[in-house]
Structures are given as structure tokens and as C-alpha cells.
Symmetry: C2
Subunit: 226 residues, 2 copies
DNA sequence: GTTTTCCTTTCATCAACTGTAAGTGTTTTT
DNA sequence: AAAAACACTTACAGTTGATGAAAGGAAAAC
């Protein structure tokens, strides 16, 4: 059975949505605490996320962006009719569909089914700007090429991507690669970074890895200064 | 610029389609010889294929099926309004969209753009029943797992898939793996087949490899007898 | 029951990934 | 300007995993 996560703060609306979806044969998980929404969502690994943009305290946009960085579930955004401008914004952030509230039940269900069908059987790929990464095999897709990254390079890229434009500390990277906080050797990380850079350059990827002195590394913003 | 292949036998219709698409900024390739349509299409490697189902001599369905086995370009099927039943059939064969003729220009362009956007940045994956295969890296996707096949196993599976339910000869397989007709050693193929079988079984794939005595191998039909 | 064809396992070889080590650049600090 | 701290690169050896050869077992055809 397909699992859908509902992120909506208004009680009434949330229950109505859940009800509708359950009757349509989906398993529903409701998010009721709006701290670390992304984390909660990742934990229950839904097949689709229904996301209201107007949440108390947190930015729906921010959540959307984080989700697309850290998971590969499709996101269907709900927005009030008077915030149509949001749509474009949401789509840019990687939302797969949007709907205006209120909206007819059939319409909602149709979109839900449609989006899920589009993702049906699709591999679990992490989206980066202009490329995709399979988190299990570390197969990297760019344009029409695909390359298998060695495990370490893959893990590094995965961590960097999950941080978006922010820096990942060297410690984090080491943990991701070797599973321990004790530094095996800071240099080992260094070497693997060099190798990853080379493969990325070889593929013509626009994003580059830049060091943050004394902290770690991050991926450059799209048109970011070198 | 995106390239679209038009497969349509009626001259008038074909030119109208081509015109429309060219004005919309696409590069168009027309298929005018209806022998080995699939081969021609594979050669020009289009980003989308516009396929009329009523072709002289050949079955549009057959072409559709072959395309989905041998390429990963999206297929948009055109059918006359009085053959609505075809639609279901076409979708089952893996067509990504269908349209009834005649049809409004905007509608056609909208669907074309829509389908292409859906494929945008998507990796070049070959579709098998219930699984996907990356022809470059031989990454195999099933359910939510993904595994990297060793090159030889990948090549074998690729060839078998490209033959659909028909048998691939041992010679073909050897050529695909080692690039030569001279048998390196028939046993080498044997060994790799065994290994492929094992990995497929390990993943719980429904399709199995069955030998055709004295000829070669083929994948079992969905509910095929063992 | 014999022959042909197909299958499986084991073993040595080879290629690829990896960490170590040593040395070179490049910032920042003094 | 010199020193120190940090970042980068290259070369090399150990390990892991894929590959083909060989040998023997199973299944089908006759």
C-alpha cells in the first residue's frame, strides 16, 4: 500500500485530507509537530508528500528544498488560491505538482495518483542541479552520460548534496565514509576529495567543491563566485 | 535543440506535423520508409517519437514495443478518433502519451512539451517488466533497490532484453561481450550466465533465463511456463 | 545407456579502489 | 618577510572484486 505523508497545520483541513486519502486506499501519516519536519518525513519514508506551504514557524519553501535535497519522494504542494505566485516558486524548488486550496476531491486524488504513477518504478535518485545521484550504487547521471562513482567519492558527494549550499564539516564527511568520529587520517579524506573533484571535472559538472578553511567543504552555488 | 522523430505515412499530415513542430522550435526527422522503422529511429536518437499507429505494412504496436525494448526515448502515439480502443493497448505497450487525430495544434504541442519535460534529465534507462537497466553503467533498478551488475552480466541482460521474448543466440551474446565472433570459449559465456542468474534470483526478479537447446537463451514471458 | 548439451564450482589472474606517505601550494598569522 | 597552518597532489602498495580456464556434475536427446 502506498504511504502518503500529510503536512498541514489546520486540524480540520488535515483530517479531511487524511480521511479522503485513506478512503482512497492510501496509508496516511500526519505531521503534527512542525519542528524538523524534514527529519520526520525522512523517517517515515513516504511514497508521496502532501505539503501545505503556510506552516507556523517554518517556511514551506525551505522544507520543500530540503526534501528535494535529502529524499527523492515526490512532493505535491498545497497553496491557498490567493498565493498563486507561490506556484512558480514551488516548482522551481522542485515540487512535482501544486494545487490550490480549496479544491475538489476528485481533482486532488487524480493529481496524487498521477504524480505517484510518474514516480512508479523510478529509481531513488537524489536531485542535484543538472545531475542525479543514486544513493545506493552511487551511479551519477549527467546529461546523457552515467558513471559509477567509487564508494568514497559517492558518499562524499551525497553528504555535500544533502547540505545544499552550506558547508559540510570534515568530521561529518569522515563519519559518512568510515562511520567513526575518530579521524582515520585527515589526509585520506583529502585524497578522496581530490579524486571526486577530478571525476566531476571530467564530467563537466558546473558545481565545484570549494573548501571552507578550518571547517569543511561545500558545493558552489550555481553562478557562484569562485 | 530537442529532436523529434515523426512516424506518419500520410504525406499531408506528416508535413503539417513537421511544420508545426519546427515552428515550435524543434528539430524534426521524418520517417518516410516504413521498413525497419525501429532501426531508423534508433539511428537518429530523437528526444521524442511521434508515432502514428496506422502504418502501411507494419504494426504500430510492434514498433512501439520494440522501441521500448531498445531505446528509452518517450513515445507519443497518434491514433484516429475511431480507434479509441487502441489507446489502452498502446499505453500497455509503454507509450507515454496518446492523442487522437485530428487534434488542435496547441493540444499537440502542450502534450509534446509535457512528455519531454517529464523525461528531462532522466537517465537513459531500458525498461524491462518490473525493472530498469542503465545501459552505460549496468545499474539495475528493481523495486526500491539498485545494484550494479558486472559488465559481462550487464551486457548479457541487455542483449536478452533487446530480444524481448525471443531467443538470443550464443554467438550474439559472445559478440556483445567480447566483440568478436570467434568463440573465446563457450564456457566463459556459460559461467557469466550462471552468475547473472544468481544475481537476478537474489533480487527476486520474476523473469528468468531459459536455454533454447542448440540455439541460445531467452527471458521467460511474464507468466510463462517454466 | 550413451552422447550431446548445458550447468556449476573452484582457482589463479587481473583491474580497480583505497589509504599511506611524502612532498608541493597556498593562505593566514606574526 | 618568515613561519605556521592548512590545503592539495602524486606515487605506491595492499586489498577487494570481477573474470576466464579447467574440471566435473546434471539434464536432455536419441
Amino acid at each position: 500500500m502506498k504511504r502518503i505523508a500529510v503536512v498541514e497545520d489546520e486540524l480540520f483541513m488535515r483530517e479531511e485530507l487524511s480521511d479522503l486519502l485513506r478512503k482512497a486506499g492510501y496509508e496516511v501519516r500526519e505531521i503534527t509537530e512542525f519542528l524538523d519536519v524534514t527529519g520526520q518525513l525522512l523517517l517515515c519514508s513516504p511514497d508521496l508528500i502532501l505539503l501545505d506551504l503556510n506552516l507556523p514557524g517554518v517556511s514551506g519553501f525551505q522544507i520543500c528544498r530540503e526534501l528535494k535535497q535529502k529524499s527523492s519522494a515526490p512532493v505535491l504542494v498545497l497553496t491557498s488560491r490567493d498565493q498563486m505566485r507561490d506556484e512558480l516558486h514551488a516548482l522551481k524548488l522542485g515540487a512535482d505538482e501544486y494545487l490550490t486550496k480549496p479544491c475538489r476531491k476528485e481533482r486532488l486524488l487524480a493529481r496524487v495518483a498521477n504524480v505517484m504513477k510518474r514516480y512508479e518504478g523510478r529509481p531513488n535518485l537524489l536531485e542535484g542541479p543538472g545531475f542525479l545521484l543514486d544513493r545506493q550504487t552511487y551511479t551519477l547521471y549527467m546529461d546523457n552520460q552515467s558513471v559509477i562513482l567509487p564508494k568514497n567519492q559517492g558518499r562524499i558527494l551525497e553528504v555535500l548534496m544533502s547540505h545544499g549550499d552550506e558547508a559540510a564539516t570534515k568530521e561529518e564527511l569522515c563519519v559518512a565514509i568510515w562511520g567513526t568520529t575518530e579521524f582515520i587520517d585527515e589526509n585520506a579524506l583529502q585524497v578522496n576529495l581530490t579524486r571526486l573533484k577530478k571525476t566531476m571535472a571530467g564530467l563537466g559538472m558546473r558545481r565545484q567543491i570549494v573548501p571552507i578553511r578550518g571547517v569543511g567543504y561545500r558545493l558552489t552555488e550555481e553562478g557562484g563566485a569562485l
